[in-house]
């Protein structure tokens, strides 16, 4: 029983990432009808926002301390981060320590602007072109973004630490009445899960309870009619694109401590997220989130040793197998609507 709960928990962090990326993909897809292969790159750029923030906060001034000598007998160099000299030692330290959550503040404007530029500069011209062209041009864009990041940050993964508070593990078992040390779970992953739930909730609330969201949902259902009602749907769709990019970016920011960001992480997640979107059903937001968690959890269950001993290698292919089976049995995915993307 405790093993099962542990695997459920393990599936949550990957599932959260899948769900958030798939949510953005579906948003763009449902509203604009554009298949965005550059969405994984947004996730990756979000992760690199965290890296950048870490670097910015780490900028230090070097002073020489003539009292102390280093091992060569030269005056000792002391690095004081600029943040510390601005805010004092205690506050400065904690700011550096909390660099990952702070990067959210950097990531939101960056992603919104990036999404805006992308939509106005490129995607706008592809609404009327076939899906294959959209896939190709966004695939090209993904390569370009990836290479730009690689040029500035290098090809190696850059470790990004979570705040000290969340660095350890929590002994979950005691909390829910199991024996001690039965379920030990890294704290940051739990934070990530809660964070992603909050984002998903925010997106749904935004679509459900605001006028803007209502118009967007109407636009998803029938774009022409909404345009005929005198609503500037294009402008709203641009904002929607920015929001979708921001969702992927935020998923990336908080994912940085789980896996050190590298320039091709976006591509790795993209393939899986597309599978997630298809399993959930094209154009269905709840479907995307549900399928994300479902596949994440399935993957973690498949990687249990007990399962692997029965079917070796199932953990590598379970997601694809599920996707193929679902696509063949329920062509619209789990919660797909009729008439979306059916040539």
């Amino acid at each position: 029983m405790d093993a099962i709960i542990l695997q459920l928990l393990n599936g949550l962090d990957k599932g959260s990432a899948y769900a958030l990326i798939a949510l953005g993909l579906t948003l763009i897809f449902g509203t604009l009808g554009v298949v965005n292969f550059a969405h994984g790159a947004m996730f990756m750029i979000g992760a690199f926002c965290a890296v950048t923030m870490q670097k910015i906060l780490g900028i230090s001034t070097i002073t020489l301390d003539p009292e102390k000598l280093d091992f060569l007998g030269k005056p000792l160099q002391i690095k004081t981060p600029i943040v510390e000299s601005l805010f004092g030692k205690g506050l400065g330290d904690s700011i550096i320590n909390w660099s990952v959550p702070l990067s959210i503040l950097l990531a939101i404007p960056v992603m919104l602007v990036l999404g805006y530029i992308m939509e106005r500069g490129l995607i706008k011209h592809f609404y009327k072109r076939p899906h294959a062209d959209q896939i190709l041009v966004t695939f090209g864009l993904a390569i370009v973004l990836q290479e730009i990041v690689k040029y500035f940050y290098g090809a190696n993964p850059i470790p990004t630490a979570a705040p000290d508070m969340f660095r350890g593990s929590i002994d979950f078992g005691v909390l829910i009445g199991f024996a001690e040390n039965a379920i030990i779970y890294p704290a940051w992953r739990l934070v990530y899960f809660l964070f992603s739930m909050a984002i998903v909730g925010a997106v749904f609330a935004f679509l459900r309870f605001t006028t803007f969201g209502m118009v967007v949902r109407a636009g998803m259902a029938d774009r022409e009619t909404v345009g005929l009602l005198g609503i500037n749907i294009d402008k709203r769709f641009t904002i929607m694109f920015g929001i979708a990019a921001a969702v992927a970016g935020l998923a990336g920011v908080m994912y940085a401590p789980i896996n050190s960001p590298n320039y091709h992480m976006g591509m790795d997640f993209l393939v899986l997220s597309f599978v997630v979107v298809v399993v959930g059903g094209m154009g269905s937001l709840p479907g995307a989130v549900l399928a994300g968690f479902l596949l994440g959890i399935l993957e973690s269950f498949a990687s249990m040793n007990e399962v692997k001993s029965v079917i070796p290698g199932i953990d590598q292919i379970i997601i694809y197998l599920v996707a193929i089976i679902i696509l063949l049995t329920r062509p619209r995915g789990l919660m797909g609507r009729k008439g979306v993307m059916e040539e």
Binding site: G30, P130, A132, I135, V137, I143, V144, Y320, L327, E343
Partner: protein, 403 residues
């Protein structure tokens, strides 16, 4: 001749001539001259031209004709490579049985994948093929280690059975005694030409499969595939079921990919799983689009173009740049080098990505269309080209996405 019209025969003869003369044509600069780094006439690269040309021709039969965008063709490349290496391990270093097996296995594999994937069209098809290819890659990389040797890659060891090997047989890939690695070097003046057996082997196969694709393009079957791309609904109304045709196209292009993979292993007797990654599938899509999907010569041009610049661009470093721009005043020179630097050497992928985006945005017909436009501008011809998909009267534009 050969069941082709006069125009096509000329075309084929030109292609044959170009392919056979490649070692000479790609060495325009004498050895040791400043421009020698732009020479591409060395065996390894020329083999790649031919092999990826085959790969792209095959992909074009599916994508260029039917419009089905597969993102999983690299899986067949991998299957072909593994087949050839297994034949080395079991029989001998003769490439022929391996290539035959590569084509057969990839055909079966494509039949299986195509049968499932082709139940859906459009983006679903792309994602299904992508999922299959990633699945194959993961299987090859970890689970099927006894078959594929996992991340090490499959290679021939001394204790392999190799039942057809005797003391006299060569110890590297060969075609009935013709060694793939052997080359004849000819020096004429300052020029050095390398005529490599492996290249000619690939080139002859490439010519044969090019001829086949030419025949497919001109056949009723090819017309049927174009009809699928143009308007499936209309096809259904005329009482034709498109699925057998698309499946046949998928299997044929899978066979091409398997053959290309087999040839890769014929040139270099090892096979690794990274050949099956979806980025490799993306590469062949890039080649086809860049050259011009749906044209005969386009994919080959695209493959050559990408492979050439991948090799040449990535060798240029800052010193070479400085030597080029040394005529400029110092400050300007540094600025120019600084500007160009991100796009060459390791930044080649960036250039490729940008170029590819430009092509998709401005030149949907790829290099071929660009060439045609330039040619028409020079000669002042303004007649409509009769290529498929560009004739607005009979090929309506694909309808926009409507929810």
């Amino acid at each position: 001749m050969l069941g082709l019209s006069k125009k096509d025969t000329t075309f084929l003869l030109v292609v044959i001539f170009l392919t056979l003369a490649t070692p000479i044509l790609l060495q325009p600069f004498p050895e040791g001259s400043a421009m020698a780094q732009f020479n591409a006439g060395y065996p390894d690269l020329m083999q790649r031209f031919a092999i990826y040309g085959i790969f792209a021709i095959g992909f074009n039969i599916l994508f260029g004709l039917t419009g089905y965008l597969s993102f999983g063709h690299a899986a067949f490349l991998g299957v072909g490579s593994y087949s050839v290496v297994w034949m080395y391990k079991l029989l001998s270093y003769n490439v022929l049985p391996g290539l035959v097996l590569a084509v057969i296995t990839s055909a079966l594999f494509a039949l299986f994948i195509g049968y499932i994937s082709l139940r859906r069209s459009g983006i679903y098809f792309s994602i299904l093929t992508l999922a299959f290819a990633q699945m194959s890659f993961n299987l090859a990389y970890s689970v099927l280690t006894p078959l594929t040797n996992g991340e090490t890659g499959l290679q021939v060891y001394t204790d392999d059975p190799q039942i057809l090997m005797d003391a006299a047989s060569p110890n590297s890939p060969h075609f009935f005694g013709i060694l793939m690695i052997e080359s004849t070097k000819v020096n004429i003046g300052g020029w050095q030409f390398t005529f490599n057996n492996g290249y000619y082997f690939c080139a002859i196969i490439a010519i044969i499969v090019f001829y086949l694709s030419l025949r497919i393009f001109r056949s009723p079957f090819g017309t049927m595939l174009r009809a699928i791309k143009t308007n499936q609904t209309r096809m259904n109304y005329t009482g034709l079921n498109p699925r057998p045709y698309t499946l046949a196209a998928f299997v044929i292009s899978g066979m091409y990919a398997g053959l290309a993979g087999g040839l890769l292993a014929s040139m270099d007797p090892l096979a690794g799983a990274e050949r099956m990654q979806w980025t490799a599938s993306g590469e062949v899509v890039l080649m086809t689009i860049l050259g011009g999907a749906g044209t005969l010569m386009g994919p080959v041009l695209g493959a050559g173009f990408i492979k050439y610049f991948e090799n040449i661009f990535s060798k240029i470093n800052d010193n070479i740049l400085h030597s080029w721009f040394s005529a400029l005043p110092d400050g300007v020179e540094d600025a120019v080098v600084f500007l160009v630097h991100p796009f060459i050497g390791k930044g080649w992928s960036l250039t490729l990505g940008l170029l590819f985006m430009m092509v998709v945005i401005f030149l949907p017909g790829g290099l071929i269309e660009g060439g045609t436009r330039i040619w028409n501008a020079i000669t002042g011809k303004n007649r409509k080209s009769n290529k498929p998909g560009q004739d607005g009267k009979h090929h309506p534009k694909p309808s926009a996405h409507v929810n």
